[in-house]
């Protein structure tokens, strides 16, 4: 997507919003300019802090999920005997909607940061685990043989073969699940907390009938999701230049 296309898409979105606001003519749907003004006003007065808290929770979850799932996926992809044991377990647990575990997670981990980070990390964990396992088992044996013949031991195979082979899959999995992660974040922040964008939207906006503030929170949450998406995109271009060639 070029800059011009991006600007045009944003403009169309704002235009549709404005038209809808004019048609509804009610406080529940303020126009984009009113929300923009409220957004700019709210940013230094708490919204920025809530955004930072939410961003921290998502980024921490991503790092923990990748940090745990990538090594396990690599091991499962390489050691068939382990995968035979683990595969049915993953098959059964993968489709469980992890969000329903939130009450249990809250009971065990309390209402602090850890429960929110845990539930998002849990969802991302499975996404990353499955793609890393598949990418790692899909590495051609000829490639392994030829790199081993250059003198590579296990650690170097990991560094020069398995990690780069899995990296594009990890980034794609994260990009696909960013939307889910932010949605779960909203849900996890919607009760028993006093920070984060979920709290801001529901309590400080919706609960107080402060609609422009509520929409500011929605915009901030959308921008957060978009920023993570852009960051992953940037990482992919930076680290996986060779993949782009095939596109």
């Amino acid at each position: 997507m070029g800059k011009a296309e991006g600007a045009l898409a944003t403009l169309s979105l704002f235009l549709a919003w404005q038209v809808a606001a004019l048609a509804v003519q009610a406080p529940v749907l303020p126009g984009p300019l009113a929300v923009l003004a409220a957004f700019v006003h709210a940013m230094p007065r708490g919204l920025l802090w809530h955004t930072a808290v939410s961003a921290f929770r998502v980024v921490a979850s991503i790092l923990i999920a990748v940090g745990l799932a990538a090594p396990i996926g690599l091991v499962l992809g390489q050691i068939k005997r382990l995968d035979v044991v683990a595969a049915p377990l993953i098959y059964i647990t993968y489709p469980i909607p992890k969000i329903v575990l939130l009450p249990i997670v809250l009971l065990f981990l309390g209402i602090g940061e850890s429960s929110k980070i845990f539930i998002i990390a849990l969802i991302l964990f499975f996404q990353v685990l499955v793609v890393v396992r598949d990418a790692s088992s899909g590495v051609r044996p000829e490639l392994i043989y030829s790199v081993r013949s250059l003198g590579a031991r296990r650690r170097q195979l990991l560094r020069y073969v398995y990690l780069p082979a899995c990296l594009p899959a990890i980034l794609t999995a994260l990009r696909v699940s960013t939307g889910t992660a932010v949605a779960v974040l909203f849900f996890a922040e919607s009760f028993a907390t006093n920070s984060g964008l979920g709290y801001y939207i529901l309590v400080e906006g919706w609960g107080r009938l402060a609609y422009p503030e509520m929409y500011s929170g929605v915009v901030a949450m959308s921008l957060l999701g978009f920023a993570i998406y852009l960051a992953l995109d940037w990482l992919e271009r930076r680290l996986c230049g060779w993949v782009q060639l095939g596109k």
């Binding site: 051609r140 000829e142 490639l143 043989y145 030829s146 790199v147 081993r148 013949s149 250059l150 003198g151 590579a152 170097q156 020069y160 073969v161 780069p164 082979a165 990296l167 996986c240 230049g241 060779w242 993949v243 060639l245 095939g246």
Partner: protein, 250 residues
């Protein structure tokens, strides 16, 4: 240089490929291994490379038992040997990097081999951007940069078109003359075996207890291809391959 002594090998749960198989390669010799498809040519190469270990018997290179890939053995495979995520330069430098050769020495070696194999112009490109011939040149550069004393090649040129293939076969001869290497080439092409192998090992279908050796002293000369003797040897090898393919042991 290489001694294969009473080697038996089978992949887990599969039929026996080698049964008390023995074979010798002297230093500086260039061998070509040929045989019917599925006879175990590649397996023999993997045994020499230390990528597979025999269930019985031993593989010795310079009187040392091969238990894992040996530092001075170079291996070039048909394709898929280059890292798709690394440029030609990074691929060529890979073996040196793994062995801890530091800059600027590494840079100097890589630059020299890229130039020698005529791929300096594509050093910043990824394998997917190269032609098949360039990819194999890069694979050759990467292996020769490590200055091996034994070069193993598994169908290195079989995925290339005829002209590129001949060009690379000539290149092997030119490089072989410059550096005194011991070479073992696995191929399914009779012409390639006769052009490059001063000694040709014809393997029968498994279980293999011994192969048939055909001497081919004219090999390794650029003008050999096209001479009557070349075609006569090709015909001899062809008959041997067909005979052992049908009758079992050669």
């Amino acid at each position: 240089m290489i001694r294969v002594e009473n080697v038996s090998f089978a992949y887990p749960g599969k039929e026996v490929i080698f049964q008390s198989f023995s074979w010798q390669v002297e230093k500086g010799e260039s061998w070509a291994i040929i045989g019917p498809p599925g006879c175990g040519k590649t397996t023999l190469l993997y045994l020499l490379a230390g990528l597979r270990l025999p269930q019985e018997g031993v593989v010795l290179v310079n009187d040392q038992m091969v238990r894992r890939p040996r530092r001075q053995t170079g291996l070039i495979l048909q394709d898929y040997g280059l890292l798709p995520w690394a440029t030609v330069h990074q691929n060529t430098a890979l073996g040196l990097t793994i062995r801890g050769v530091r800059e600027p020495q590494r840079q100097a070696i890589v630059t020299q081999w890229l130039a020698r194999l005529d791929i300096a112009g594509v050093s910043a490109q990824y394998p997917s951007q190269l032609s098949g011939g360039q990819r194999q040149r890069a694979a050759v550069a990467r292996t020769l940069a490590l200055e091996p004393d034994l070069l193993l090649m598994d169908e290195p040129f079989s995925s290339l078109d005829a002209l590129t293939r001949e060009g690379l076969q000539n290149m092997v001869i030119e490089l072989g003359i410059e550096s005194i290497l011991t070479g073992v080439l696995v191929t399914h092409s009779i012409e390639e075996a006769v052009f490059l192998g001063k000694r040709i090992l014809v393997l029968p279908l498994p279980p293999i207890t011994q192969g048939t050796v055909i001497d081919n002293p004219m090999a390794g000369q650029l003008r050999y291809r096209g001479q009557p003797e070349f075609y006569r040897t090709c015909e001899r090898v062809r008959q041997t391959v067909e005979r052992v393919g049908h009758d079992g042991q050669g």
